[in-house]
Amino acid sequence: MAEKIKLIDENGIRTDGRKPDELRPIKLEVGVLSNADGSAYIEQGKNKILAAVYGPKEVHPRHLALPDRAILRCRYHMAPFSVQERKSPAPSRRETELSKVIREALEPAIFLERFPRTSIDLFIEVLQADGGTRAAGVTVASLALADAGLPMRDLVVACAAGKVDGYIVLDLNDIEDKEGMADVPVAYMPSIDAVGLLQMDGQLTPEEFEEAFNLALEGCRRIYELQKQSLKAKYLAIKESVEEAVEEK
């Protein structure tokens, strides 16, 4: 690396104009795919991610079924055109790992014991990646699970914080993720104060970690409000269309 890119200017403003503790603009939509039992879409910065849930349904292959609860299967996948250089559509080791940690973040939210011998299949497709796709993937996946009508302890919401040019910042974008000094993605269930996903790479002192971790939790709480709004918006839209239909009669 010849020249280190400056990611935060002298006024503490980031490359995309945000303050250190500011989230990127987020757009959430619930119920976007008609075939799926539940689905949702998120845009967070330039991230564009779809999630769909099928199930609870019969398990194939059958020997994977559990007698006392449902299994959750999760596939996190990136479209070949989602990144600068075409990504092979075959699942990479990174995607394998992320599928696992995302599943482990969502499993504790669902009352799996209500659906023994079934599977709930969750698909997360990253259509465009802009840093923080695992966190946005968790946020949108939990909306798809809720949209599928699955009983849940809470919505799971995820957000990353990290260290960029010596500052602790919230919700890293692509360049901050790649050129930054550390990244801490966190998935959280705010109403039961439980963390389901926590990873870190980079270098942080324990004190810096605590600061970044708390900032990520704060980001989670803010996105949580947006999640609830988007779920309500779907049902308000249905209510309005029904009311219109009644009026027309």
């Binding site: 940690v101 926590l198 942080l204 002192t205």
Partner: protein, 266 residues
Amino acid sequence: MTSTMISRIRQSQIAQLIASGKRLDGRELTEYRPIQIETGIIEKAEGSARVRLGKTEVMVGIKIELGEPFSDRPNEGVLTTNAEFVPLASPEFEAGPPGEDSVELARVVDRGIRESKAIDLEKLCIIPGKKVFVIFIDIYVLNHDGNLIDASALAALAALTNTKIFKYEVKDGNVEIKPGFEELPLMNFPVAVTLADIDGKLVVDPWLDEEEVMNARLTISFDKDGKICAMQKGGSGTLSPKQIIKAVKLAKEKSEELRSLVVKKA
């Protein structure tokens, strides 16, 4: 993890003991199992080590080859970490392509080494953009009795400290291998510490039975200066933010203990 009747009885037994501050195998909550480290056990590998952590046994072999750098890092050598869950290590392991657990294990160990800049990758560049050394870290699980991450990270570190790299000469743009070896250039010494949450209590170095009953685990890797260089939560349960902060403090203490087993204080 498992949902058999036997494991439920075992679960309550393990959890009850831990609630009173004891463990089924007699350890303290913050105590590691006995650790044995041997290095240089495979002569044909450029570096090697075997770690026994209680009954868990992991071997790491390091091979070095000449190869091409990644296009976005033309001046750096390449580091590749792979983990094999060898079928002889556990009745649960099956031959075949790597499952998500072995991919996770390799990636967590890799993250600790990479993010702490343990290997001076720039010194492994021979001809920028064309020829570099490629370091293969192969983790071989020989007996699985829990906490594979810490055992593997420790074995990888021990193997790296014992790795020799062949000498070379560049003649007319070609790399010629010369007789003799040098030490692999190391800059840091990361170790991983894994804690499990069992009914709200944190225990260090969970063995297999504890892993089967834990809510979740948290692995924290520390570099030689006490900085965190990698983290991974695993398992299908959750941790509270308070517990996570507590785990970081506890893991930092234990990391120094582990590192002293491999690296003599300079």
